[in-house]
């Protein structure tokens, strides 16, 4: 009976030890790789940031369905930065220090990426800036920051080349006085001169300026052939509304960011037709880059909306990070950084090749135009889905 009791005791101990050790082992094996980032659930970056969030979530789902990374599942920790740089700084500090994330992803937009990258650089965390293109990002000598986008100064090359080829002569440039928009405008100014165009106006405004009427009155006096608006979506909508109210129009109008969203036409109505926009990528099946077609399809199923280049770029960033981890089999930030700096590949948005400072070199943006309610690629010529159209304008 005693022996029986001993046996039962020993058996219980053995089972207990087995369960304990299993629990310890199993608890060590399934620890997910934590990846942190902020998204703007409110504020002026809400719309593009929603695309970024959906792209991150899609990748998380896909990578986990494929067995995760290094045998560990991937868990995204996404926090709401409210489109605020201060919140962004605080949240990234929190993600790295408190949440102990293994990797960080970038927030949306150059201004927030500028702040977020300061935190990641301080903590020597690799950050692939998937939706920032400001030139200033690369002028700080940061080591752990990698760019996905072509830089902002190249956004308007396609549009300017087109209008020069079609005989338009004068250009006006209006831009918000913020990091990305200013860089894009400066680039446009530089390229306009290269294309022998006449820049008749280059004017900036503060983002808090809520009225564009004085700018439009000035434009009416100058009456340029083409107008470039380097602005964020909300300002773009207000500017277009003001143009409509003041019955002002130009032969060619190019706007950053807002026109790449599928619901652009629904929001701006009649003003939509003929508007050009630079885009890092276009959800068009004629885009020849591998994986592009599958991404469009998967994203639509996952998010219920057509992806923009913001989504495609951030998804590509995740894929590059995934490849780096898979190839190097480590989460060591320096190893991963070296791998990414040496990459010369083609992602779903095009070529990926960065300089030793992490600045994107291989990728160039395309130019789209809204024609009959559809986005058509009009530049580069080799990818053209339709010839560009120019508005007929009655000069006063």
């Amino acid at each position: 009976m005693l022996a029986g009791k001993k046996v039962i005791f020993l058996l219980t101990v053995v089972i207990g030890l087995f369960v304990f050790s299993f629990a310890i082992v199993s608890s060590q094996v399934v620890k997910p790789i934590l990846i942190g980032a902020t998204v703007s659930l409110e504020g002026k970056y809400r719309m593009p940031s929603h695309m970024v969030e959906m792209a991150y979530r899609l990748w998380e789902k896909e990578v986990n369905s494929n067995g995760g990374l290094l045998g560990r599942p991937v868990k995204l920790i996404l926090k709401n930065d409210r489109s605020s740089p201060e919140f962004t700084r605080k949240l990234y500090e929190e993600l790295i220090n408190k949440d102990q994330v293994d990797l960080v992803l970038a927030p949306y937009g150059s201004p927030l990426t500028m702040i977020a990258s300061e935190v990641s650089e301080k903590h020597r965390k690799l950050m692939i800036a998937c939706s920032a293109s400001s030139e200033k990002l690369w002028q700080r000598g940061f080591q752990y920051l990698i760019g996905m986008y072509a830089t902002a100064d190249r956004y308007f090359i396609g549009f300017l080349d087109l209008i020069a080829r079609y005989g338009l002569n004068s250009v006006a440039i209006i831009f918000e006085d913020s990091t990305f928009t200013k860089d894009a405008a400066n680039g446009a100014l530089k390229w306009a001169h290269r294309f022998h165009l006449n820049v008749v106006l280059a004017a900036s405004y503060k983002s808090r300026d809520s009225f564009f009427s004085s700018i439009i009155e000035n434009l009416k006096k100058i009456h340029p052939d083409a107008l470039l608006l380097s602005v964020y979506p909300n300002d773009a909508y207000r500017f277009l509304k003001e143009m409509e109210l003041k019955s002002f129009n130009v032969k060619a109008l190019c706007i950053t960011i807002a026109p790449v969203f599928p619901d652009f036409c629904r929001k701006v109505g009649n003003m939509c037709e003929g508007i050009f926009a630079p885009a890092q990528w276009v959800p068009n099946e004629r885009i020849p880059f591998p994986g592009s077609k599958a991404f469009i399809s998967n994203f639509k199923k996952f998010a219920g909306i057509t992806p923009t280049y913001h989504a495609a770029s951030c998804y590509s960033a995740c894929k590059i990070l995934e490849e780096a981890i898979q190839k190097t089999k480590t989460l060591d930030q320096d190893v991963l950084l070296r791998y990414v700096l040496g990459l010369n590949t083609v992602s779903i948005i095009g070529r990926f090749r960065v300089s030793h400072l992490g600045r994107q070199m291989g990728h160039n943006p395309v130019t789209i135009q809204w024609q009959s309610g559809k986005q058509e690629i009009v530049y580069p010529i080799s990818l053209q889905t339709a010839l560009p159209r120019f508005r007929s304008v009655n000069s006063d």
Binding site: I157, D161, A164, R165, G167, H196, M361, G362, N364, I381
Partner: protein, 902 residues
Amino acid sequence: MNRLTKRNKKRYIPLVFWVMLPILVVGIVFSIIVIQYWCPTLLHEAKERVESDLKLASKLGMRVCDYKFDLILESHLEDDINALRALRKESLEEIKAISENFHKIYMLVVDGRGNAIASSFSSLARARFAVHFPRRLSQIESYILDGLSVKAHVRYFPLWDWYIVSFIKEEDFKAPLLFIKYTVYGGTFGIFAITLLTFILTYRHYISRPLMFLVEASHEISEGRFVTIPVSPKNELGLVIDAFNHMVNNLEQHRKELYSALKALRKNEQFLHAILESIQDGIVVFGDDLRVKYVNSVVKDWFGEKAFLVGKTCDEILSRYGGDIAECELIKSTLKTGIMRTAVVKGLYGSSVEWFEISTYPIKETLSGKVVGVVEVKKDITDARRVSDALRESEERYRTLVENSFDAIIMLSMKRKIISCNQAFLEMFGYARDEVIGKSIRLIHPSDESFYNLGKIHYPLLIQKGSQRLEWEFVRKDGTRIDTEIVSSLVRDSNGNNVGVVAIIRDITERKRYEERISQLQKMEAVGRLAGGIAHDFNNLLQVIIGYVQILLADKSHDDPDFDSLKIIEDSAYRGKELVQQILAFSRSTEARFEPVNLNEIVEHTVRMLERTMSKAINIKLCLSENVSPIKANSVQIEQIIINLAVNAQDAMPDGGEIVVSTTEKILDESEIERLSPEANPGRYVVLCISDTGKGIDKSIINRIFEPFFTTKDVGKGSGLGLAVVYGIVRSHGGFITCESEVGEGTTFTIYFPVSEQLISKDKMNNFSDVKLTLRRGKPKRRGTILLVDDEEMIRILGKEVLERVGYDVLLAKSGEEAVEIYKNVYRNVDLIILDLNMPGMGGIPCLKVLRDINPSANIVIASGYIDRENVKKAMSFGARTYLYKPFSMDHLLEIVDELLT
């Protein structure tokens, strides 16, 4: 053959032409279709090929640049000057090399300033162009590059500001097009021409040549030379030629037989022709078909040489040349009956021959007696006919002239019996024609004495002068006399013997009466002028009487035994004034003044006057309605109406009778106005009715009684103006007049005057009875100096006494000249001038002008016993303040003087 062809060149179109025509048309249409549809297609294809090569070349040039640009962007070489230079150089070389792949297409790169920086066409490699190339992609255009005409396609590469031009020389561009055009045109027309030529040669040898032989032989035969055809081809035409030769041989035999028979016939025909041509009347021979077979030269002369009558029917000739339809009927009748006919018919239109006498003779077959034609013999009788027509027309013309004359025309024998007369004579004297023809002219003389006197006075002068004019009185059948003017002429026969007298008698009764009326009017005008002349002097006399009576009355009370006597003198003087007014109004020497008056008062006053002047056998009865409304009228003219109608009534009652004068007032509605006088307006009227029991007016003339100069009175007894004047006065008063009369019963004239809305002025009502008391009061005393100018001494004395009596100082002047002299000296002291207008010497108006010249503000009152409107107007225009019409009352004088001096 040649001779024949030449002879017939203008007369036929070769058969080959008709055969060739559709072939030619089809060939040309086919060629045009080929050229129209094939040539442009080929040309378009060739052009498209060259143009697409040009576009492709420029596109390849652009591709080179785009490729380099992609490289720059991917490698971020935009700021690498060395790399860019190398890339540009490479691009230029590659662009130049493009032309090696195209035939005769060259490449050219031009910078933004027009400098060529590279070209596969060596002479343009360093050229500078003035051409402005389009930046926007355009179509292929023509350019002149450094003197070289080219077709070019241009693309712009903005990064390097390059114009990439692919071009081909104009001549090289056109060369293939011209080649295609010439090949198509030449080939089409060449094939067409060869086909045509082959057909013509074949046709000429096998068809045309034998046919021309046949034609030539036919012409030879027609000219009497019987020839056969020497050739005979081995085809259908050969058979025709054989048959033709056989026919020619037979014909030659028959011709010889006919020739001898014809010769005999021609000789006979010539003899007959000579006979017919020798006849001077027209001969026309018709066949049994009624067509002309022969006409002789006389007929040809009538119808003209160009008239082709032979072969035409009589009706056809008639419709073309005119004439008488009876002529054809006659010919047809003779042809049908075989009986000879004769008639006179009309000639031809537009011909000198107007009348023919025609005879138609049947032509009968010798054996059967059947009528086979008609010989018509036409004789020109125009001249004889023309003479007889002229005589008849002349006679008819004179007959019409006589019958239509308004004057009576008669023809008398030398024994003064009426041979003939016109209708006017019968109407003038009231006889029927059978009552006068053959009767003595004594018929229309009022007496034997008149008949003998006229013969005694008139005939010797008539026989001496040949014609005579005089006035004579005749009598109508009904016994009424008629004044006439007679113009008579002698009628002589061809030997110069007097055979009768033609007399034209004109009724001048009316003219005579009119002349008498004019004479009466002239008398009346003379009376009027006389009345005007004496009116002034007469009024001056009345003025003196009235003036002094009023001075005397001013000092008398009503109880004074002399007061009534003086009043009667004053009234009589005023009646004298009215009498003068009436005389002047009757003679139209004064203007009528219309004012509200009481018709009853005028009637009573006038009737009292008539009772004194009219026959005692006439009883005048008054039936005046009380309280009739006033009418706006001129009382003198109303009096004239009553007088004229009363005088007429008296004339209508030579044995006496009754005149009833009545007044009443009526309201006439529209229906009554419509019945009485449609021109008048409905409303209230005062009605004056004057009726008599005289002989009345005949219905036939009652509508004419108001016509001027219409009268039924004997000559010298009435002017014919009485009722016309009445009518005129009534119309001028806005009224109307009606007349009702029955012969033997009497006449009633009813006059309607519209009622006046104005009341009768008191002055008028009291004109004769009110004595003003101004003179008698004599106070307060007036102050002022008055110059009284009048040629009548009594007037001057009267005026001075009256004016001084009330306190004025009075200066007197007896003429205009004296007045001027006085006024020159004392005009500053003279306050008023009373100036007589009718003065001898200077006269009133000139004196007035001089006085106003001396003192433009002179107060002048003009006065006269005879003032017409024109003189008053003139005086007022020269500055007179007002006027006084003599005789005036002293109160009236003082009223005016006081008013002007206040």
